[in-house]
């Protein structure tokens, strides 16, 4: 498969990259690892005039502790995150999620955490070859007015299948978006538009620069279900964060379910149902997992991998397993 034509731009530093992005805006795409972008370009889903490579921008690759936060550069490779003791200790869900991204051959060197968060939403009606798509009317995401995943849907129902974003949302992460002459920090929860065509609330001249994870002294866990353990997108995943008191009482929970909607879903009702419960209260965990399943199921459509019924049923399992693991870690 050939890539479509484009011009390659290789800025030396962040300032240069932001300058180029500001000039070319919608005509340009950022190339970090390329493991998502180049695949979409090969399928003809994307035809940018310019690719701005971040290859020379070592300044975007770091993991550091600052003011009770873990700060991770958006260009940090997945392998570096897996190797980080800081992430392992303070943001275990992110480590578990990164271990599941791609296969070792891609993780090692090419894939970046920024690219993982910004990987485009997917749908098995859309992520197909030019030839496949040419045989029918274009869908919403392809510029048309039809949704093949849900009859008579007035909008795109593509699914966010990012492992990293689900774990980071559970960890309460914020992200910093840089643009020429400034930057802004947003909560990851507020970063999504609920629109499958352009799922991220960012401008075309903005660049994801940094991920900030607050260190809350809490336990976290991430569980995912996929057909193939390597190089496969999750069909359901769940990240949880669990804060407990010394008396093994739960003070705060964040339950996030991924691969079920247009963005990772932070489920407030399921999360708050566990407040004040004991870490050993399995019935409460099961109840929270069932609430999570009910709430997440309303967002899902049949457009990735398995049948909708199976994916919905598995939400409660993934949430329950993640909760159990986080609770085990909290008891220690």
């Amino acid at each position: 498969m050939r890539l479509p034509r484009f011009d390659y731009l290789g800025p030396d530093n962040l300032e240069g990259a932001l300058d180029l992005l500001d000039t070319h805006r919608d005509d340009a795409k950022i190339l970090a690892g390329g493991t998502d972008l180049l695949v979409r370009m090969k399928k003809g889903l994307l035809k940018p005039k310019f690719l701005i490579s971040l290859k020379a921008l070592n300044e975007l690759s770091y993991i550091k502790k600052e003011d009770n936060n873990i700060k991770i550069g958006a260009g940090t490779s997945i392998a570096d995150i897996i190797a980080s003791n800081l992430v392992k200790k303070e943001a275990h869900a992110l480590l578990q999620a990164c271990e599941k991204i791609g296969a070792i051959t891609i993780q090692h060197h090419r894939g970046t955490i920024g690219g993982n968060i910004l990987q485009d939403n997917r749908c098995h009606h859309y992520n197909q070859s030019d030839f496949h798509r040419s045989g029918r009317q274009p869908c919403h995401k392809d510029g048309g007015k039809i949704c093949y995943a849900r009859d008579e849907a007035d909008r795109c129902n593509s699914t966010c299948q990012s492992d990293g974003a689900t774990a980071l949302m559970a960890l309460g992460a914020k992200i910093t978006l840089a643009r020429k002459g400034g930057e802004r920090t947003v909560d990851l929860v507020d970063f999504y538009t609920a629109d499958g065509i352009m799922p991220f609330a960012m401008e075309s001249h903005e660049l994801l620069k940094e991920i900030i994870i607050p260190m809350q002294g809490a336990q976290s866990a991430y569980k995912r279900l996929a057909y193939r353990s390597a190089i496969d997108y999750p069909i359901v995943c769940a990240g949880v964060l669990l804060k407990s008191s010394k008396k093994n009482e739960i003070r705060e929970v964040r339950i996030v379910v991924g691969a079920m909607g247009r963005s990772p879903l932070f489920l407030v009702r399921a999360s708050s149902s566990l407040k004040g419960k004991k870490l050993t209260d399995m019935d409460a965990f099961k109840k929270a997992a069932d609430i999570a399943m009910d709430n997440a199921s309303t967002f899902a459509v049949h457009n990735v991998g398995s049948t909708l019924e199976y994916r919905c049923a598995m939400v409660s399992q993934m949430v329950l397993r993640a909760l159990k693991q986080a609770a085990e870690a909290a008891k220690r």
Partner: protein, 164 residues
């Protein structure tokens, strides 16, 4: 769009090539430099048959732009053997019958070689994890895993080993 001259360091030899910005490393290796050991199968980073080393780490050459490979040390499957002398890993693949149609073999060898460079005596689980990104549709994976385990540990022959 014009061709650009770049220098790639492939198997410890500098190669000057003219490439288009949208040429992948795999296309340059196969079509410009006649290094046809690396194969294209899925073309989207799922099968692993195009795996090469960049600075000692296995990467997918079908999802790496040739332009991005400048300034790195690239090793392809052709760089494993020393002239006509096969590497231990390659010989082990032959001895264990780990090759059937052979299409996935270059990728398997490169993934396994990277693993053995890091960990010369890997256990089965580690080998399977390292090869998880490579798909074989003929032999099944048992013989491939045996071949890698043996190459990393030539003293302890397994029952399937050919006595030499």
């Amino acid at each position: 769009m014009e061709k650009i001259q770049i220098t790639l360091n492939i198997n410890d030899k500098p190669c000057e090539v003219m490439v288009y910005p949208n040429d992948t490393l795999l296309e340059v290796l196969r079509d410009e430099l006649d290094l046809t050991g690396s194969k294209e199968s899925c073309g989207e980073g799922v099968c692993g048959s195009c795996t090469v080393h960049m600075d000692g780490k296995p990467v997918r050459s079908c999802l790496t732009l040739a332009m991005e490979a400048q300034g790195t040390k690239i090793k392809t499957v052709e760089g494993l053997a020393n002239g006509d002398d096969l590497s231990d890993l390659q010989q082990s693949f032959i001895d264990h019958g780990a090759v059937q149609c052979g299409f996935c073999t270059p990728g398997m060898l490169m993934s396994a070689d990277a693993l053995l460079n890091e960990n010369p005596r890997p256990d089965e689980k580690t080998i399977r994890k390292a090869l998880a990104g490579n798909i074989c549709r003929c032999t099944g994976y048992a013989k491939i895993v045996e071949a890698v385990a043996h190459a990393g540990n030539p003293q302890e022959h397994c029952p399937d080993c050919v006595d030499k």
